[in-house]
Amino acid sequence: MESVTVPDPTVPDALDASLPVDDTELVRILAADGSVAPTPAAEQYLPLVDALPDAELEQFYRDMVSIRAFDRQATLLQRQGQLALWPPSWGQEAAQVGSARAARTQDHVFPSYREHVVARIRGVDPVDIIRLMRGLTHGGWNPYDPKNGNTHIYTLVLGAQTLHATGLAMGLAFDGKSGSGDPDRDEAVIVYYGDGASSQGDVHESMVYAASFEAPEVFFLQNNQWAISVPVATQSRSPLFRRSAGYGIPSVQVDGNDVLASYAVTRAALDEARAGGGPQAVEAMTYRMGAHTTSDDPTKYRTTAEEQAWGRRDPIERMRAYLEGRGAGASFFAEAEAEAQALADDTRVRTNALGGLDADQIFTNVYSEQHPLVEEERRWFHAYEASFEGGAS
């Protein structure tokens, strides 16, 4: 039986080799130091990377740097009492940027609740994510507004979105919006979930349905090693990408801190799915550098040594080294930094300026058609508020 590889905190430098035991299956193009060192499994994906213009590569870097700054700023805002909580995406930038940039305009995206850069890349205003975490909405944006790039809202019940994604993908197949052979027209769905969620029944049912109906869908699992305080070894005794494979879904494991590899495998998977090849799966090995959310305390269940070890495999530094190796100059990096800082500042200013909600919204949009009980309670509430001296508070 294969053993899942848990990074050994006492042997930091052995991580590269220990992940996984057999490197032939892991897709990696960039080593931790940014050098180009494709694993055997990565060979078939190299043409996809080679086809990327410099501007796109630079965009990957800028995406990652900006979102890290945004993410840090959001955490600070929470510490200043501006947000109820913040789930950081720190450390997972490469997996998210690579996969998001691999999707086409016409594709449909189902995040879980940590895919901030995915949402941003698709067109969602990051402050809409802030509003969710600030208690101003349970959603944040309209997935059907074209500016949001078919990005669905965050789902907080773990794994529930995988069924929704599968259903949507089934509908694409039914309507012939997929599988015509034209990749610029054919639509596909990508759904994001984590190692913890991969234990949920809904995730398994979604794979049963996706396989059965040959849904044009990519299951993108970010294995960030931790489900709050529970290590992935508790979720599974075998590598997670073998699960989807067990459902007959072609599955690949990728180094999720390598943005090039993440891009490549997702691009290939999405194009295969949209071409009528049925569902595909990707397991991106990465690390949740931060806490689960701002309410969490990782010092209680994992070691600083482990965090530091994964820090040495940082996705942004890796890409920076790679770009430097390709001749990117100091001004490029400075601009990227400035751009990131601007995003952070803008986020802070706009967050501090966010107002409150009108109580009437409690009763709004419960149903699409008016419901007499809701309307009755809405009327009662307004009369009740008006019954106090000074009117509604």
Binding site: R79, Q82, D345, D346, R348
Partner: protein
Amino acid sequence: MSTQKFLLPDVGEGLTEAEIVSWRVAPGDTVEVDDVLVEIETAKSLVELPSPFSGTVGELLAGEGDTVEVGSAIITIADGAASAPAATAAPATVPEPEAPGGAVLVGYGSAGHVASRRRPVKAEARPAGTSAGVVAKPPIRKLARDLGVDLASVTPSGASGEVTRDDVVKHASQASVFRNIETPAWGEVREETIPVAAEESDAVRPAASAPPVERAQPTESSDGREESIPVRGVRKAVASGMVRTAYSAPHVTVWTDVDASRTMELVKRLKSSPDFADVKVSPLLIMARAVIWAARRTPMVNAAWVDGDDGAQIRLHHYVNLGIAAATPRGLLVPNIKDAQDMSMRELARALQNLTTTAREGKSTPADQKGGTITITNIGVFGMDAGTPILNGGEAGIIALGTIRQKPWVVDGEVRPRWVTTVAGSFDHRVVDGDGMSRFVADVASILEEPALLLD
């Protein structure tokens, strides 16, 4: 330059307090937005708090080791430059814990929300539900059922239009008297004769033998222990009349106590009214009106049993010659007021006064005493509550008005002193049935209780 306060936020979804572990700045230090100010420890973890403001540190409001509640200020910073170097001029201020709408501000959890009671505007009474039919709460419906009251006939007095408990109780106490009774008019015909069937009249023929009467002994005893008073004149006439009546008409007396406070009030008011300035007004006047009114409702009390050769008859009078029993120097006289039913209150008062004065002066004529149809005897003047009066000859009813005095009475569930009296009536049971006599006495009493019923 303004001074900003940084309030301790809830950093862990529902925390209420934190301990200051170590300050990273001191008063006077210059800080930029997001610089770490302090490390705190919460129930969940150690957390560094970044500054929301740029400027100069003013005062540290809590010491290391102190436990601070979420929402309290921990540091002041004199706001210097704008907080966002490359962004708009809007300064980064930390809003007060009361967010617009009064909601709990996110990040300040539940500790910042102080329980309060807003003051309601005085509410108006809400109208009762619009169900068809009577508006009454279930317990009141039960009460009505228990008392035999038809809710639909009760006038509701509740604020929302509902029938109240009081409404039902009042209605019940009236209904027992007036139920199913109409008060007829006096009508054109003055006398009406009702034959009594032969079997009935035989059955009620007076007893063959009267009890023996002791013969008068005209002597006086020599030792003065015995005195004999010859019976003559008025006394003789009255006595034989009484014997005749007492031993021919089966007498039944019924009585009831009544709260006559309203009669007393009315009498008082009439006395001070200019219309009655020149006549005597007393409870007897009200009693007289009551008897006349009640007689209209129970006509049999205003009648006579008449024996005849072809059998007995009951003669019903459709007028009232109201006899007033008067104790006079000459003896007991019963002059009557002719056609008292046609008199106004004032006329009746005058008639009563005249009658009383005349009787007291001993000037009542035989005509005055003839033709009476019903009699009132006022034993209350003697301080008596009730008695069993003997019918005036040729009549079927006599009513005794007892003394009116303060006695304990139950009003609205409490014991209160009220003007209470007893109304008693004796009746010729050949003419008046049990329910008739009770109803008549009850009617009279109800007038004493509520004289306004005379407005009927």
